[in-house]
C-alpha cells in the first residue's frame, strides 16, 4: 500500500506544473521553429512549435556564407574554453591556500577576497583600469578581469574543508610539498566542486556580451555570438544606440536578420541544454553549501 490515492489536489497541482513547463519551454520551441522556417514565410506569422516551410537557410547563413557570424561562434567557444580553464586553475589554487588554516597569510588573503564581494570600484574606474592596462580590443579582456570570483572561491574552499585530511597528512610525511599535495591529492578529490564551478564559469563566459560591447567592439575578430545577437536585437529594437547598423549585409536571399537572430539564439542555447542537466546534482549541493557558508 505504498501508493497513495491521487486526490483533486494532486491533479490540479500536476496540471499547474504542466502549465509552468509550457510557459518555460514554449519560447524556446517557438524560436527553434522560426529558426528552421523560411524567413519570408515566417513574416506571415502563425509559427508555433513546428516550422511550416522547413529550411536550414538561417543556419547556413551563420555557418556558411557569413564569415563574421562563424568567427563570432569560434570566438565564443575560444573564450569559454580559455576562460573556464584559467578560472578553474586560479580559483582552486586560491581556495586551497585559504583552506589551509595553518597558512600564515590565510586571514589576510581571505579578508582581501571577501571585501571584494561587498565593495567594487564601479563601472567607470574599472573601464579606466582596462584602458590603462591596454586591454581594449585585446583577447585578454575576456579572461583577465573575470579570472576570480570570491563567491566561487568560497564554494571551493567549503568543499575542501570537508575533505578527509588524513590523505594530505600522509603525503606530507612522505615529503611532498604543498603544491604536490594540491595537484596530486586535492584536485582529484575536488572534481565534483570543480565541475560545478566550471559550469558557472563556462556559462558566464558563453553568455557575456557586455565586455565585448564596452571593451572589444573595435576589433571585429573579437566579436562573439552573444554580441552579434545583441546587435541585431538593438537594431530591430527601435533604439539606435550608438552602434551603427552592420547587419544590413546579412539580408540576402532566403534569410533576414529576424530569422538569423532566432538561429543564433538556438545555437547559443544548445550547448547550455547539453551540459547543465548532467551537472545538476553537483551545482545544487554546491549552491546550497555556498549560500550557507557565505
Amino acid at each position: 500500500m505504498k501508493k497513495k490515492k491521487w486526490t483533486m489536489f494532486d491533479i490540479v497541482l500536476t496540471i499547474f506544473m504542466i502549465f509552468v513547463l509550457v510557459v518555460t519551454l514554449y519560447p524556446f520551441l517557438n524560436i527553434m521553429a522560426i529558426s528552421l522556417n523560411n524567413a519570408i514565410d515566417t513574416a506571415r506569422g502563425g509559427i508555433h512549435i513546428w516550422p511550416r516551410e522547413f529550411t536550414f537557410a538561417n543556419y547556413q547563413e551563420i555557418f556558411g556564407s557569413n564569415d563574421r557570424l562563424l568567427q563570432a561562434f569560434m570566438m565564443s567557444i575560444l573564450r569559454t574554453v580559455v576562460g573556464t580553464i584559467t578560472g578553474i586553475i586560479a580559483s582552486t589554487m586560491l581556495a586551497y591556500t585559504l583552506s589551509r588554516r595553518d597558512f600564515v597569510f590565510n586571514r589576510l588573503v581571505g579578508f582581501m577576497l571577501v571585501i571584494t564581494m561587498f565593495i567594487g570600484g564601479g563601472l567607470i574606474p574599472e573601464y579606466m583600469l582596462i584602458r590603462n592596462l591596454g586591454l581594449i580590443n585585446e583577447f585578454a579582456v575576456y579572461i583577465l578581469p573575470m579570472l576570480i570570483s570570491a563567491f566561487n572561491v568560497i564554494i571551493i574552499r567549503s568543499f575542501m574543508d570537508n575533505l578527509p585530511i588524513a590523505l594530505e597528512e600522509s603525503a606530507k610525511i612522505d615529503g611532498a610539498n604543498d603544491f604536490t599535495i594540491f595537484w596530486r591529492i586535492i584536485i582529484p578529490l575536488c572534481m565534483p566542486v570543480i565541475a560545478t564551478i566550471a559550469l558557472f564559469l563556462a556559462v558566464g563566459q558563453w553568455n557575456s556580451w557586455f565586455d565585448t560591447y564596452l571593451y572589444a567592439r573595435g576589433n571585429e575578430a573579437l566579436t562573439t555570438l552573444q554580441y552579434e545577437l545583441m546587435k541585431i536585437l538593438d537594431n530591430t529594437n527601435i533604439s539606435g544606440g550608438d552602434i551603427t547598423s552592420q547587419n544590413a549585409e546579412v539580408i540576402a536571399g532566403q534569410t533576414n536578420p529576424q530569422s538569423i537572430k532566432m538561429a543564433i539564439t538556438i545555437i547559443a542555447t544548445i550547448p547550455i541544454i547539453m551540459v547543465y542537466p548532467f551537472l545538476q546534482k553537483y551545482f545544487v549541493t554546491g549552491l546550497t553549501l555556498g549560500a550557507v557558508k557565505s
Binding site: F9, V20, L94, M128, I165, S239
Partner: protein
C-alpha cells in the same frame, strides 16, 4: 563590517579541522617551547610555506590590480579627470560632481527606476520562488518532479540577450501573448507592450521571474527537504489538508531561510544591474528604463564625463554598503543571522 564577522564565524566553525591539522601536520614544530611560539613559529611557517605563498601571490596581485585599484579610482570623482594626465596631475574639484549629481533631475529618475524595479523584483521574485518550491515539494510523482525542476533551471543559464530576444518576440504585435489575448477576446487590438513606458517595470519584473524562479527555488527546496516527516504524519492524523500542511508546517519550517534570504536581498536592492534594462529598453521607454548603472554608463563613458560617472558609482556603492550593513545588523538582532 558584520559580513566580515560572519566570515569570521565561518572560519571558527571549522576549528576541529584546524586543530587536527595543526596537531598532526605541524607536530614537529610544536615541540619547541610553546610559550612564545608566535614569532619563531611565524618565520618558520613562512619559510616552510613557500609553495603556498607562491600559489596565492599571483591572485593577491590580481585582487589588488583588478579589485582594489578601481576602488582607489574613486579619487577621480573629486577631480576633473582627463585621461591624458596621470591620476595625481589632475585638477581637484572637491565635492563638485556630487553637488551636480544631486542637482540633476535625471539622477532622481534613475534612482526611482532602480528602486522601483528593485522592489518589484524582490517582492515578486521571493513570492514566486517560495511558491514554486512549495508546489514542487508537493509533487508525488518523483520523475515528473525531477524533470520539472531540471527544466525550471533552463532560463537561468541562458543569457539576458537571449531572454530579451524571447521577451520581445513573445510580446511583439503578432507575438503569442497578443494572439492569445485576442483569441480569448480580452483585447481587440494588439498591445504594443515594448513601447509603453508604463508597462516597462512590469515587463522587466516578469522577465526576471520567468528567468530566475526555478533557480531561486533551489535553496528553499533544500530547506524543505530538511523538514521532519513526522510533522506531516501528525498533521495527517489530525486531518489537516495539503494546503494546511503547506501553510502550517512547510512554511514555518523554512521561516529562517526565508528571512535570511530576504534580508540579503534587501541589502542588494540597489544592485539590480543594468543588463535587462539595457537590452529590453528602447528610446520610447527610456524614461522608465534608465537605472543608475545605465546613467553612469551614458554619462561617464558615453559623454566622457569620467569623474561624474565615478561619482554616480560611488553614490551607488555607498547606499549599497549602508543597506547591507543595516540588513546584517537587523539579521543579528532578530537572531536569524546564525543560520548563515
Amino acid at each position: 563590517m558584520s559580513n566580515l564577522a560572519k566570515q569570521g564565524e565561518g572560519q571558527s566553525q571549522i576549528p576541529a579541522t584546524t586543530s587536527v591539522k595543526v596537531g598532526m601536520g605541524l607536530g614537529k614544530q610544536k615541540k619547541t617551547p610553546s610559550l612564545k611560539p608566535n614569532k619563531n613559529g611565524f618565520w618558520k611557517r613562512l619559510s616552510k610555506q613557500k609553495a603556498l605563498i607562491l600559489m596565492s601571490l599571483p591572485f593577491v596581485l590580481w585582487l589588488i590590480v583588478f579589485k582594489y585599484i578601481p576602488i582607489g579610482g574613486w579619487v577621480m570623482a573629486f577631480q576633473d579627470y582627463k585621461p591624458q594626465f596621470g591620476l595625481l596631475e589632475q585638477k581637484w574639484v572637491g565635492w563638485e560632481h556630487f553637488k551636480d549629481l544631486f542637482d540633476e533631475p535625471m539622477f532622481y529618475r534613475a534612482l526611482e527606476n532602480t528602486i522601483g524595479m528593485g522592489v518589484l523584483g524582490l517582492v515578486f521574485g521571493t513570492i514566486t520562488a517560495i511558491g514554486f518550491a512549495l508546489l514542487l515539494n508537493e509533487l508525488r510523482f518523483i520523475t515528473f518532479k525531477k524533470w520539472t525542476q531540471t527544466i525550471s533551471y533552463l532560463p537561468h543559464f541562458v543569457s539576458w540577450v537571449i531572454v530579451a530576444n524571447i521577451v520581445i518576440t513573445m510580446l511583439s504585435q503578432d507575438g503569442v501573448i497578443n494572439n492569445l489575448l485576442m483569441g480569448l477576446g480580452i483585447i481587440n487590438n494588439p498591445i504594443a507592450f515594448m513601447s509603453n513606458p508604463d508597462l516597462f517595470w512590469g515587463i522587466v519584473t516578469a522577465a526576471d521571474v520567468w528567468k530566475e524562479t526555478g533557480w531561486n527555488a533551489i535553496i528553499y527546496l533544500a530547506a524543505m527537504a530538511g523538514v521532519d516527516p513526522q510533522l506531516y504524519e501528525a498533521a495527517k492524523v489530525d486531518g489537516a489538508s495539503r494546503w494546511r500542511q503547506m501553510w502550517h508546517i512547510t512554511l514555518p519550517s523554512i521561516r529562517a531561510v526565508i528571512i535570511v534570504l530576504l534580508i540579503l536581498n534587501i541589502g542588494n536592492l540597489i544592485n539590480i544591474g543594468f543588463e535587462k534594462q539595457m537590452l529590453l529598453g528602447n528610446n520610447i521607454v527610456a524614461e522608465k528604463a534608465l537605472v543608475i548603472d545605465l546613467y553612469a554608463l551614458d554619462y561617464g563613458i558615453g559623454m566622457f564625463r569620467y569623474s561624474f560617472g565615478t561619482a554616480i558609482g560611488i553614490f551607488k556603492s555607498v547606499v549599497s554598503i549602508i543597506l547591507i550593513l543595516i540588513c546584517n545588523g537587523f539579521a543579528k538582532r532578530i537572531g536569524e543571522g546564525r543560520v548563515f
